[in-house]
Amino acid sequence: MAWHRLMRLLPFRRLSEQGVLGMNRRNISYISSYNPRELYPLVDDKLKTKRLALHHGVTTPELLGVIEYQHDVTRVGTLVEGLDNFCIKPAKGSGGKGILVVSRVEDGVFYRSNGQELSLRDLKRHVSNILAGLFSLSGSPDVAVFEALIEADDSLRDYSFEGVPDVRIIVFRGFPVMAMMRLSCAVSHGKANLHQGAVGVGIDIASGAAVRAVQRNKLVLSHPDTGKDLQSLRIPQWPTLLDLSCACADMTGLGYLGVDLVLDRRRGPMLLELNARPGLTIQLANGAGLLPRLRRIEAFTQVPQMTIAQRVAYVRKHFASVDAQRNSPPQFVPEKCSG
């Protein structure tokens, strides 16, 4: 197309050489080309995702209860009674908006993961806001979902501050193409959203080892709060996570999907949520563009009849990161640009 030629002329050339996927192309060539509109509700509504996952035997965080109507808001008290920790989410929320994590309850006072104290009244107000559609994608009425809190796997605990780290895997036509781990930190208020300041660690598809890490688009070497060296990060049960991401993509039928997985201490890998419009910062965290990998998958004219194991083997062979494979002490040239 004409735009491609244009891109080679402008200062965008170097981005293009790196195979960086831009917002416009993501929207036109991937999201709207591979994600049928009618499948969106499956991922935009966390309740529907949960039901789908249940049907396909995919583990998700335990559902404690749902509040659907305004007059049920009074039920919040009974719903959370006796719970030590839980989280409240809007079913149709996006970008982590409206997610309230209560990590501790003492004498009727609810403590958020960042230490903020909330009363039952505050909880009810939050639920009421969720129902009114304040956090939902299009402002439409929503339901509030109460979920059991996930406890981070021991091996990952030191890598995250307050929140639970999750793994984002981009799955394209059933192939996991790129992965990153998102670590919450003090700046991000315990949230694992990169635009709120969480640390993104690129993960080598082949090995599950860290490639490099970024925070607010800048390279970082260690976790800003815990001081843990991020290069040593290696995700346990990596092949299982890859399998799980493929299964998630297969059950939705979406061609270009962001799968968010967590490793629970007790229940192992589980699906946190799905995203039909996954962000682009994952490229920064990996120091690699998505385009070469996406094009490779696109080269299959038909969606190949490959089992999940075959697909995972394919991507582990072809999409291994050069940086991570060296496995020696990482060699960074932080901030120093040669060009």
Binding site: V20, I28, C337
Partner: protein, 508 residues
């Protein structure tokens, strides 16, 4: 990617072609200039009729001109206190357009004025002046016939076509002064010339014209000979035989009817004064004096009543604003709160003027955010809360208006031009943003919106842009094509250069 892009590009091409053609058509056929400052030459000619009224009913009939080759009539007015006035178009009697004044009783010296504004337009085609008159059959006898035939014969030998024949006829008339005087004893030279041309089978007539010269007063019409050849004609001075210049000769009367006809008056006198004006075209367009559309193809806003035109002036600017928002969001990557909120804010700025608008906007949004932060503590349902914000915005606007009016700042009244519902939603969204992402994000998005609004305002308030969008409807098709093309843009956004900068530093 998978579906063919053929139909899409076909549609865009069609839109581009349609838009360009419509625009070019309007430019070429109506002479609407590209630039608003462009000027056109207009001749204002005033006819002054003086006469002494005899104390009885008075009827004055004055021949008045219409559009003709080289001139387009764009306006006319009269000053005639106490007189009834009618413009009569009497084509059946072949009297052309006439102004007819009438009064029951008038006594003493009377003065009537008629003023016409003629736009100099080389392309103008007047229907009436270019129609050749019927050839009358001329019957002569005796010595006159001999002389006429002699002159005609001589002239015919030395000429090639109607125009040269006319010239030679006039020369012959001058040369053979004795024969000529024989003829002019019977009827004037002009009538003979017309007769002789008719005998030669050439349509011709006597017309009365004005020589246009800037700042002249008390001018009289001159008699000219109009000779036709096919659809064209040429004017000749009847004594020198020189062809006249059409560019500064305005035909005033061309039906061989009396120039001025007065019943109930005497000592009538008709004189003309004229001035040349340079009038900016956009002023003419606004005043509606510009030649208006005549058929459906001449599709333009100017065929609407003036109040609707004013409305469309604003509406036709919206596509420009929308285009700018698309450009800034898709190509540059600016983040705004609310997709097209900036366009509405820009429209409000146009109404309020920039400074008032900016101050008003920031005041209202800041005050609204404060009120909203209190409302959020009240634990209200979303719809009710936004309604509350809307009402407080309206109260604030009313308060600001009254306050500024009391302080003598009438500028403050313009604050009412802001779209209130949009403001309320902006406040709500920014307030949520504040709670969720902190004040920094509010400043980023609010600043982004304001910046886009400012940019859109600057473009939309530009005179050239206003002139073009208002006068060239075809441009809307071009905007449409552009927006479609932008919607197909898969390249990088400018701000992505910065975003992905860390990736470039490494392996370049």
């Amino acid at each position: 990617m998978k579906t063919g892009r053929g139909p899409f590009y076909l549609l865009v091409t069609l839109l581009l072609i349609t838009g360009s053609l419509l625009t070019a058509y309007r430019y070429a056929m109506f002479d609407v200039p590209w630039m608003p400052g462009e000027k056109r030459q207009i001749w204002s000619v005033e006819a002054q009729v003086d006469f002494i009224a005899l104390g009885e009913p008075v009827k004055v009939s004055l021949a008045i001109p219409d559009s003709q080759p080289g001139f387009e009539r764009v306006g006319e007015r009269t000053a005639s206190p106490g007189y009834g006035l009618a413009f009569v178009e009497n084509n059946e009697n072949n009297h052309g357009r006439r102004a007819e004044w009438s009064i029951r009783e008038a006594q003493g010296r009377q003065t009537l004025y008629y003023q016409v504004e003629m736009l100099v337009d080389p392309d103008a085609a007047g229907a009436e002046t270019a129609v050749e008159p019927p050839i009358s059959r001329v019957r002569l006898d005796g010595p006159h016939a001999t002389v006429v035939n002699l002159i005609l014969e001589r002239a015919r030998e030395r000429s090639a076509d109607p125009y040269t024949l006319t010239r030679e006829l006039i020369h012959e008339f001058n040369r053979q002064s004795q024969s000529a005087s024989l003829l002019t004893q019977m009827k004037p030279r002009g009538a003979w010339l017309v007769d002789m041309l008719h005998m030669a089978g050439i349509p011709a007539r006597e017309v009365q014209a004005l020589n246009l010269e800037d700042g002249r007063r008390r001018q009289q019409v001159v008699n000219l000979l109009q000779v036709f050849e096919g659809e064209n004609y040429q004017l000749f001075d009847m004594h020198s035989g020189k062809p006249g210049k059409q560019t500064n000769q305005l035909l005033w009367e061309y039906y061989s009817a009396p120039l001025l006809d007065i019943v109930g008056g005497r000592n009538s006198r008709l004189s003309f004064s004229m001035i040349e004006q340079e009038v900016p075209v956009n002023r003419m367009l606004e005043e509606g004096t510009f030649p208006a559309a005549q058929n459906l193809l001449d599709f333009s806003i100017h065929s609407l009543p003036l109040s609707e035109q004013a409305l469309f002036k604003g509406i036709l600017l919206i596509p420009v604003g929308v285009l700018i928002v698309s450009l800034l969001r898709i190509i540059v990557g600016v983040r705004t709160s609310g997709t097209f909120m900036p366009v509405l804010i820009a429209m409000a700025f146009i109404q309020t003027s920039l400074l008032t608008g900016l101050v008003g906007f920031i005041l209202i949004v800041a005050a609204g955010l404060m009120i909203r932060s209190y409302l959020s503590r009240l634990n209200l349902l979303l719809v009710a809360r936004i309604s509350a914000v809307i009402i407080s915005v309206i109260i604030m606007i009313a308060a600001f208006s009254v306050l500024s009016y009391q302080l003598g700042l009438t500028e403050g009244l313009k604050i009412t031009f802001f779209p209130m519902i949009i403001l309320a939603w902006t406040i709500e969204r920014m307030s949520i943003l504040w709670e969720e992402e902190g004040p920094k994000e509010v400043l980023t998005q609010g600043g982004g919106s304001l910046m886009v609004a400012l940019f859109a305002y600057l473009v939309m308030s530009n005179d050239v842009v206003r002139h073009l969008t208002f006068n060239f409807l075809g441009l809307q098709f071009l905007f449409m094509a552009l927006v479609l093309l932008i919607g197909n843009y898969t390249g990088y956004r400018l701000l992505e250069l910065r975003r992905f900068q860390p990736m470039l530093g490494e392996r370049a």
